[in-house]
Symmetry: D3
Subunit: 257 residues, 6 copies
């Protein structure tokens, strides 16, 4: 039995709130138990230099812990003048995950920046960021695109952390469980059931192929559940994902915003 009475494969309560702030094209607060991340997606009409003239767009992410999102305060990266290695690693992961389900050609020469700012951190902030950022990204694209031609999001995308604790493989580790785990794995998956990213690390121990498979089984079930949640929350906008839409259908969904 886990500290909060969850079963091995059970997610913490998840809550995704769209339109959490007013100005961003997409703005989502995702809560996974006590972990809370604000994900905002900004659309800009320009692309990095190396894409100019290619007709192709770009999606990137930035990540930050608010200084007192954690149990003891972490120093503010802006004050130190430098992002930590952990931050850099996480924001690169979020960007890669999102780009895997975006048709950058269909996006056109636009950049989307998804900011993931952690309000409260109780484990799993990077995977919560991906799951929440996906919803913010869909909203931002739906807001920006007129609703004709191909919708630039090709599939769902959600992420979960799994790990091997003292009693075996578990899903959605809180901070306390994460600190005690010998193996920690983050998995990003698509709605079609494929893997986008698998990052398993055994700093406090190593793991066998069997253990890897057990972790992947847990991750598949969890990401399926998270994507069902994303679909519910997105309502009719979810239907546009992976489709070429005629104007009429696009207009029908306007009421959803």
């Amino acid at each position: 039995m886990r500290s909060d009475n969850r079963t091995a494969g059970q997610l913490r309560p998840i809550k995704i709130t769209r339109h959490f702030t007013e100005y961003a094209e997409g703005s989502v607060l995702i809560e996974c138990g006590k972990t809370k991340v604000l994900c905002t997606a900004t659309v800009e009409d320009n692309v990095p230099r190396w894409l100019k003239g290619t007709g192709q767009g770009w999606v990137t992410a930035e990540y930050s812990l608010l200084p007192r999102s954690t149990k003891t305060r972490v120093s503010r990266e802006a004050a130190r003048g430098k992002q930590t290695g952990r931050t850099v690693e996480i924001q690169r992961l979020i960007g890669r995950a999102l780009r895997a389900v975006v048709d950058l050609k269909a996006l056109g020469e636009r950049s989307i920046t998804v900011d993931c700012d952690v309000i409260q951190a109780d484990g799993g902030t990077r995977t919560a960021s991906i799951t929440g950022a996906f919803v913010a990204l869909v909203d931002a694209i739906d807001y920006t695109f007129g609703g004709f031609g191909k919708f630039p999001i090709t599939d769902f995308c959600a992420a979960i952390s799994v790990g091997i604790g003292p009693n075996g493989p578990i899903t959605d580790l809180c901070y306390e469980e994460d600190s005690a785990a010998v193996v920690d794995m983050n998995v990003v998956r698509t709605g079609a059931g494929n893997l986008i990213e698998v990052q398993g690390t055994g700093e406090h121990g190593t793991f066998s192929r069997n253990e890897l498979n057990a972790l992947l089984d847990l991750a598949e079930a969890a990401t399926d559940e998270l994507m069902a949640n994303q679909r519910d929350v997105l309502g009719s906008v979810a239907d546009k994902i992976g489709k070429v839409y005629p104007d009429a259908l696009a207009m029908a969904s306007e009421g959803d915003k």
Copy 2:
């Protein structure tokens, strides 16, 4: 008549939520109309080098706009590796304002850092930060101190922005009004009615002594109202401010947390 139908001296709806996040010793979300700032106060058992051995503590503040708190995205300071001049100026102001109502000797050799992270910015973020940070500071000190001896907060402290718009002096400017104002003034005041800080700037115009006085009159009324709000929100903890408390009273307030 103002764009949101307020009278010249009318504040936007204000809402102060204590204990907004779980881990910080003090955590407050302050909302002034659409402006929303998360203020967390962290207590640490050490002081800057120049105070070591003096028996005296320190209070400092950090401020940041979340990248998409604003109508168009501002670049993340941590990514650029540098805080802007505006950020530096604001966090110095917040720190000075708070220190004016803290008895640093009574605080002992402790540091309190108040982080003001702007979730949504519609004008007046620095003054909202001060008003919210004060409540977070009181909570953090109340949480940390045993409730005997002198309570290190000597008085209330709140701040407001006032300015001269096309139709004369107004209180609590939203972003749109702020952009159109010829004179902008931030005022920080104590519960005793004294001034802590007056910063009036006429970049788009200058102002007379009479106009300065009209602005100060508005600011006095507004900060009185804000401090009444702080008192309501703090409940029995508010009674400790400026007092030397015997144990009994301190214990009585335990139920408030």
Copy 3:
């Protein structure tokens, strides 16, 4: 009685030397007692990006303490790779103050940078910088502009520090007085008698409306005296301020340079 026998409202001896160095379009050494600041104004034929194509110019300032301008050496900001918060705050203040008396449209798409480098610091360096920078700015504009159309300086501008010491309000505080003051206020004013900036801070205490008024009275008298000094030093160039000049008059003043 003050440490140097001045009366409460008395300025320290002031000396403004124009053309102190040779290469800058405007170059002024201002001495207020032992405080000495070199102010140079540079005119460049370009503007920051956000002004390109607007037909409008820009005025900005930079400020620095020479490492041993102070009683104990301050570390060189260039060596540390970062300007302090105090420096950033001061140079923003100087820039705002000067822009308040410049007609940026009449300036055209030109940038003027005023460098204020403190040679010796005995209190009041930011206000001395503004008072000296104004003279350097006038010289630089007079040197650059042909003398027809509207002279882009609309009015005089000078600044002073006032504060509340142990014996009440005083003018033009030296370092020793500044350290002992409970309230410190910097005031920037125009020749027409209006306020550009009022920055009053009570870090070591608070202040009442009455005390604020007493400080403003002192500041008005002091800045009037400083502007009379600026006028004397500028000679016939002073007559151009706030005027539209025909060629003849402009030529008459050539001899002054």
Copy 4:
């Protein structure tokens, strides 16, 4: 058939040269085809602050591409004043991988820094770095430790990149293959056959569980081969790994250096 006629599971020619430079406690040049990385291990008698007094040591890594190790020059990070996100991510991976096979308690309060400087880059530099760094680490520890008590290396450690190219899964991708791969995976394994790290990324496509398994099969065979190579190159020093050695055996290996 691959561009260099290798079969799908075939490694490029591998060459590990110990004692490549003279001053480092461990110094290895590893060549995997055209990819060449110099790995040096430095032992220092101190630990990061958070380990002081714990009796425990630390192992960390730094990684860099020489500016012209690549087909077109990459700018020097020291000149830009900042390590790229890719560099940060790689050096954190190398450090984690090595720590998984080091008994930090047996190491005592010592720090080992392994520098991986890429002389020539033709794909797989991060995995070559790990495989080479392990040998340098063993040499540095063997050089430093007297040969009694527990040898602080608990097992072998090697890494390989595998990926899915146009014709299916392949091992040890060169730069050209890496650019064309839809899925890229880095696997770090121990001599005991366990996994330390699995990082699979599908930025240009996604991958199924079956494909993941095929990639892991390739990686297991390749890392087994690499570890056999490490064992050959290390000679009698290899026997110390994972053992508690009496003095006699330790002395016997002295001749190997």
Copy 5:
């Protein structure tokens, strides 16, 4: 007699290996005793801003010590975010030395960056860098230029360190000798026998004109020997230096690459 039995004027064994790495237009490993520097020359079709449109090219150099090239590890400049003063000084020297023998007009609007990365440091790294960089530069230019018109290298260029040790003037100081020398001098010379740069420093003592002359005599002999070595290594490419070549001759040398 010197520690390695050399005579006062004797160079350490020198070995220059061309085409040491594959991708750079010029790539040379120079070994002077235990000092080993990898010099790569990169040609790019653009110039710094201040040369745009002048028809003239530029040659610049960057220098770095690999962290463990030295007896005790030096921290990585990229990790600290800053190049040391010593690095900056050295790379400016290398750039100046090379430009003295390049006809920047004949080079056209191209930039050549020579990277000098020290693999092992036993004194004389800056002079070895110059001597090796010259060969890499010649190879890069020979590779890039079609072989008609004026060859942009006008003369040979080599450098040596000389110094005054306990027993008088000596040539090509190793680290141990360098640490003990009272005067240290670096001399850069051309094939025509002229001086490009003389940098003599007496931090641990001063030196007379006579001593200066003795050092210059040693430096002349040593650089003549180094330039003979460069000529041998360059083979027929050496004949192009300082000449205007018809196509035929240029083609004849193609076999040398």
Copy 6:
């Protein structure tokens, strides 16, 4: 004939003003023609880490161009967050030059920082800095030391720039001459007639041994003249240089300050 009618070997008018500012232990304004440098020496009772406990002191220098000391404004290094390579090179030269005439053991565990801030730059700023810094250093040491034991300055020290212009070797080049010179050399010498530093550079040309000798002849005459000037300006303090002083003599010189 030179642009300002000087003969080839003639110095520009030199003026050394001691006690130019009040707070520094040594403060000198040196003027060489239009070149003006403020040199202040600060004594602190601590040493860099690597000297702690050695009983030995340290002397270091910092150098900066005020932004508008030059004909066109150079950007402020503190604002850019980085010192240029030229600045770093110059301040290292000044430090080495001064240390050559300081007995660091006699100095004891003290640090002296000499700040050389260029007020106006018309060529020769680095050599003027050395010549002026020496006087500031002597004053700072005389002010700090009680006047018994060994005076820690062992000899005079002055520097000059010489170069080869269109009409042959010349002394003390102004900016215009410096830009036109094919060879530029900076020479630092002691009162005893020895060389401390010789830095000759032929970026726009090379130079022969004969030309080097002609330049050194000019430099010897010029530095002798500069040191005579230093001696005059220092008055009786000059007598302490290189001597072990009894208390009586030391006291006699007190009146000089």
